[in-house]
């Protein structure tokens, strides 16, 4: 590290010292003087002395990183003391200076525009100082919104209510089908209805900590601040949340937190919230304030004089390619988990809109931050097209295990042994063993990696060897005994206990158990369920500033498609919160700041050189794809890409693997350009053409993804580098975050080819939270 280092406190000219003379070592650090805006150096003596010959002036280059060499008898003691002093300085007074210093060194191209002031006043002050657009002028301003999920849907409706003319695009046959609809668990809000000590600050703290300190503090605080409004808004819209008998809203608790702040509507919270946003959109569509384009896909962003001024979209029914103009463009097209082919995303979920704006100049941030969800239904064979998630809430009562003996594993795979026949003492409840404090409720990233560890060691139980057991038998017995006591059965039989217990479990998790039974064809009440981790959510995305504007003026990005709020790992029930916060309560304000300067622009014509060129490039690209005339469908390449990603860029990553991935993806991409086949009628509904375009974007993104993972040589949240683990101490073998070197957002700028992307760093500053190692032991 450059800003804090060790040096010798020379008392006379260097040459006058002889090698055996004692010298004193001091800690030297650089800080930014606020008055002069220049760097100053400060030396502090440490009291530690050594002979000049034992001093390693190039200590930071030495692989052991010891300032005092081993030739000194007391080198261990002395070095230890030096490091302790350095640490104390860091904690006491250096941290503030240090982070300011780092911020100063963030890439000049990245201005996050975080407002000044205390964290709890930033958003209020910002709203008070933001430019507004007069209602009469709003009528003359057009906004394009791509995507109609929670973020896009809520943004379209809110912007239209304010008076803007909105053009809304989705690739599905109706805005109601966006994949937000599949979210199960719930939505967080700092309402403190349960009186359990929840507050805006606590939600903010949990989210930053859960994200392993890789999110932007100011954005997360704002998210926590508006979370309560979301619930008010949704109830007013008629969203039927779960309620208690007194008629008030019910809450449940979720992984990684200590309070109950999750609002829910059975296992279909995403559906209900999305239908709420959809109904708000419908009201505006009826009024003509939203122009809805169903079955349309955005294929290019149009820039005029450096500003986002419109898009080129393909009508998926007729194949027609058209130009659409606006004063601002909002991308709300969701995450890119489908780069892994198999994920819990919808089949059509894609990165195309985000990738197109990236190629036009929007930076792509932290692409390697992906969440792998531990409780999904395992793959049953090669025909598998997607993976189904089962709510995290199942881990509240279920216990996860694999057999202790490898012989038992083999017998199970061959069908000679049933899991229920394995005795208690022959089972390895590995989460309870490794993490006694949190047990089965460790965060998602930790649970997923632990499963992978057992499976890699050969203990996976499915036919494919890729599954672990999630067992409800203890919970059924526990609930059964409680219930028996409650209804006055003194000495219940085993059968009675199980039957009573099953009733309770059914009331709590019935729909999930039924879903499992439909897919796997086994009764989860009688035999343990099989689960396996699957790609679920992408924390990374398009880089945005505090106003949610990308690095392209007039182009915004909201919801899962942007990067800002979840850091390196997202907590349960936070995705819905972020999508709606961005769409209902943040973007409608912040976009005004930009549009206030657009009131004199007038209608934007699409009959210009820029629009024509963009349209032509899209048409040429499509023709090029149709003219490859190879022999392989788009899925062939997608499946191959997914395998590369999962193998080398999945749950556990290392330098060698990542380099292999980059090479393999490049190869696959060139194969794609030689071997792709799509039906040639491009001016009609052509689902293969749609797929091919999306797969091509994934083939490019995949490479940047691996490049980002290669650059980030630390383990944080969902990103696990085998090179960065705790070597000893109580945390031995756990992920090791490196705040000294990687406390930044990596924002990539596109240059002709993904491998040539340029990295810009936005250093993360934490003024309100102390950085800690996450521990679940």
């Amino acid at each position: 590290m450059k800003k804090i280092t060790f040096a010798i406190n020379y008392r006379k000219a260097k040459a006058k010292y002889n090698q055996d003379e004692l010298v004193e070592i001091c800690v030297r650090y650089y800080f930014l003087d606020k008055n002069t805006s220049k760097y100053k150096v400060k030396n502090m003596s440490t009291g530690v002395k050594c002979m000049l010959k034992d001093w390693d002036k190039d200590w930071h280059k030495n692989p052991e990183r010891l300032p005092i060499l081993k030739t000194d008898i007391d080198y261990i003691e002395k070095n230890k003391k030096l490091f302790e002093l350095r640490k104390r300085i860091l904690v006491d007074n250096f941290q503030k200076i240090d982070t300011e210093d780092k911020l100063f060194k963030s890439s000049k191209k990245l201005n996050a525009k975080i407002p000044n002031g205390e964290i709890n006043l930033k958003w209020t002050n910002h709203k008070n100082n933001i430019n507004l657009v007069n209602p009469a002028n709003k009528r003359n301003i057009d906004i394009i919104v791509v995507g109609t999920g929670l973020a896009g849907g809520s943004a379209s409706a809110s912007l239209a209510e304010l008076g803007y003319n909105v053009k809304s695009f989705c690739y599905q046959d109706s805005p109601r089908r966006a994949h937000s609809i599949a979210a199960q668990g719930g939505i967080n809000a700092a309402k403190n209805y349960q009186n359990d000590g929840d507050s805006v600050h606590r939600l903010f703290y949990d989210t930053v900590k859960g994200g392993d300190y890789r999110s932007r503090e100011a954005n997360v605080y704002r998210l926590a601040e508006v979370s309560g409004n979301i619930i008010d808004q949704c109830v007013a819209q008629g969203v039927p949340f779960a309620r208690e008998y007194g008629g008030l809203l019910d809450n449940r608790s979720f992984g990684g937190v200590l309070v109950s702040r999750t609002f829910y509507a059975k296992g279909q919270t995403g559906q209900q919230l999305l239908l709420g946003a959809y109904s708000a959109m419908n009201r505006q569509i009826a009024k003509g304030k939203i122009q809805m384009y169903n079955r349309h896909e955005m294929l290019e962003l149009v820039l005029v004089e450096g500003k986002a001024r419109g898009i080129i979209a393909r009508n998926l029914e007729t194949g027609e390619i058209k130009k659409y103009s606006a004063h601002a463009v909002v991308i709300a097209s969701g995450g890119y988990g489908n780069v892994f082919y198999l994920s819990t995303n919808a089949m059509g979920s894609n990165v195309t809109a985000s990738w197109k704006i990236h190629k036009k100049g929007a930076y792509f941030a932290n692409p390697c931050f992906t969440q792998i969800h531990p409780t999904c239904i395992p793959r049953s064979g090669d025909h598998q097209s997607k993976l189904t998630l089962m709510s995290e809430s199942l881990r509240n009562d279920g216990r996860i295990w694999v057999p202790k003996k490898i012989e038992d594993v083999k017998k199970i795979r061959n069908g000679d042994l049933k899991p229920i026949d394995i005795k208690e003492e022959e089972r390895d409840y590995y989460l309870e063993r490794r993490y006694p404090a949190f047990g089965n409720l460790v965060p998602r990233d930790v649970a997923s990696r632990a499963a992978k560890e057992r499976i890699d060691a050969g203990f996976g139980v499915n036919k494919t060897g890729e599954a672990v057991y999630l067992d409800y038998s203890s919970a059924i017995k526990r609930y059964g005994k409680e219930k028996a006591l409650l209804i006055g059965i003194k000495k219940p039989s085993e059968k009675e206990i199980i039957s009573l217990g099953e009733e309770i479990v059914e009331a709590k998790y019935g729909n999930l158990f039924q879903m499992y039974e439909k897919i796997v064809d086994e009764n989860p009440y009688k035999t343990p369920m099989m689960i396996y981790p699957a790609v679920h959510y992408t924390m990374g995305g398009v880089w945005v500033d505090y106003n949610l504007m990308t690095s392209i003026p007039g182009c915004y990005c909201i919801g899962e498609a942007n990067f800002s709020d979840h850091g390196a790992n997202r907590l349960g029930a936070s995705a819905l919160m972020q999508g709606l916060a961005d769409g209902y309560f943040v973007l409608p304000y912040t976009i005004g700041d930009y549009l206030a300067d657009e009131i004199r622009t007038g209608p934007i014509s699409t009959d210009t050189k820029e629009f024509d060129e963009a349209k032509k490039s899209v048409e040429e690209k499509i023709k090029k794809l149709a003219n490859i005339k190879g022999s392989k469908p788009a899925d062939y390449f997608h499946i191959k890409l997914g395998k590369i990603m999962w193998e080398y860029v999945g749950m556990s990553r290392n330098e060698k693997g990542l380099k292999t991935a980059i090479k393999e993806i490049k190869k696959l991409r060139s194969l794609f350009w030689k071997e792709l086949f799509i039906p040639e009628d491009i001016y009609s509904m052509n689902k293969e053409l749609e797929k091919a375009g999306r797969v091509l974007d994934f083939l490019e993104l995949g490479e940047l993804f691996a490049l980002d993972a290669l650059n980030r040589n630390e383990s944080c949240g969902g990103h696990y580098r085998e090179e960065s683990v705790e070597k000893d101490g109580p945390q031995k073998g756990e992920a090791k975050r490196d705040d000294e070197n990687y406390s930044y957002v990596s924002a990539w700028e596109y240059m002709d080819d993904p491998s040539k992307s340029v990295l810009h760093k936005e250093h993360l500053k934490f003024d309100n939270i102390e950085l800690k190692q996450r521990s679940y032991k």
């Binding site: 409706a157 809110s158 209510e161 599905q172 046959d173 109706s174 109601r176 089908r177 994949h179 599949a182 309402k191 409004n229 008010d232 109830v235 007013a236 819209q237 008629g238 039927p240 779960a242 309620r243 208690e244 008998y245 008629g247 008030l248 809203l249 279909q268 559906q271 209900q272 239908l275 109904s279 708000a280 419908n282 009201r283 569509i285 009826a286 169903n294 819990t344 919808a346 089949m347 049953s380 064979g381 025909h383 097209s385 997607k386 998630l389 879903m515 439909k518 897919i519 064809d521 209902y584 309560f585 469908p633 899925d635 086949f677 039906p679 009628d681 009609s684 509904m685 689902k687 293969e688």
Partner: protein
């Protein structure tokens, strides 16, 4: 498994369609119905033929995009599932399976098995909402208590996924179950009562305009609905409609 497939092929909205026959082999019992169609399409593509177009997206039974009429039943032989949740173990080796699109005047065919369901969107636009703007100062969510029973029933109605199986399975091609689910959801909540009259009248008006048929209470829709939307909602819709027409000017 080996299967004979009889699939409706239609080039576009204006052309005439017909049933085409295909055979697929080596289908795993554990694969889903749509994965079986993926395999068929893959075979067709490798032969350089046009694949069968069908709608699908989430493949976990919630988005409502998939829509197949399989062996004369909406969403196939299994109960309470959408087509994407249907698995091949529900079929026998060597079986012949008929796959058709939804058939209703108000849901025109776009291509092969893909239909146009925008009529459903237009019905929702006619009144399927509560007129409240986004605002940071709406009243606190707990200011109006709602009896748990009402909230639960409202939720049950709100779980409709808008797939249109009810229309496809109804001999009159009626959309009453769909419309009634939305009307009931709001009618059972105090927030929705304010505009209840206008809502029911406008939504029914739009439903008729779109060319959906009338309800004759056969109850087929309830049986085929993948989400189990209850017929009670239709009774509720009729009651709401009647009282609205009698009391508004």
């Amino acid at each position: 498994m080996k299967l004979n497939l009889k699939i409706w092929r239609q080039k576009n909205r204006d052309s005439k369609g017909k049933i085409a026959t295909y055979t697929v082999k080596n289908i795993s019992k554990d694969s889903s119905f749509l994965e079986m169609l993926d395999i068929l399409n893959n075979d067709l593509l490798e032969k350089g033929e046009e694949p069968v177009a069908f709608d699908h997206d989430c493949r976990e039974g919630i988005c409502g995009m998939c829509s197949l009429y399989i062996n004369g039943k909406a969403h196939g032989p299994d109960s309470r599932v959408t087509t994407c949740q249907l698995h091949m173990r529900k079929f026998n080796d060597g079986e012949t399976i008929y796959i058709e699109p939804w058939r209703a005047k108000a849901l025109p065919i776009i291509k092969d098995l893909v239909v146009d369901r925008t009529a459903f969107d237009r019905i929702q636009q006619a009144g399927g909402y509560i007129s409240v703007n986004t605002s940071g100062n709406t009243q606190d969510a707990n200011l109006t208590p709602i009896p748990k029973n009402d909230a639960d029933k409202s939720f049950d109605a709100a779980t409709c996924i808008g797939c249109a199986a009810c229309v496809a399975t109804c001999k009159n091609s009626s959309a009453m179950l769909f419309v009634s689910a939305k009307v009931s959801q709001y009618a059972m909540l105090p927030q929705g009562r304010v505009e209840a009259k206008e809502r029911v009248i406008n939504m029914v008006k739009q439903m008729d305009k779109e060319g959906f048929g009338n309800c004759s209470n056969t109850g087929a829709c309830e049986i085929e609905c993948p989400k189990g939307i209850s017929l009670e909602n239709i009774a509720k819709l009729n009651r709401e409609y009647l009282s609205a027409t009698l009391s508004t000017k």
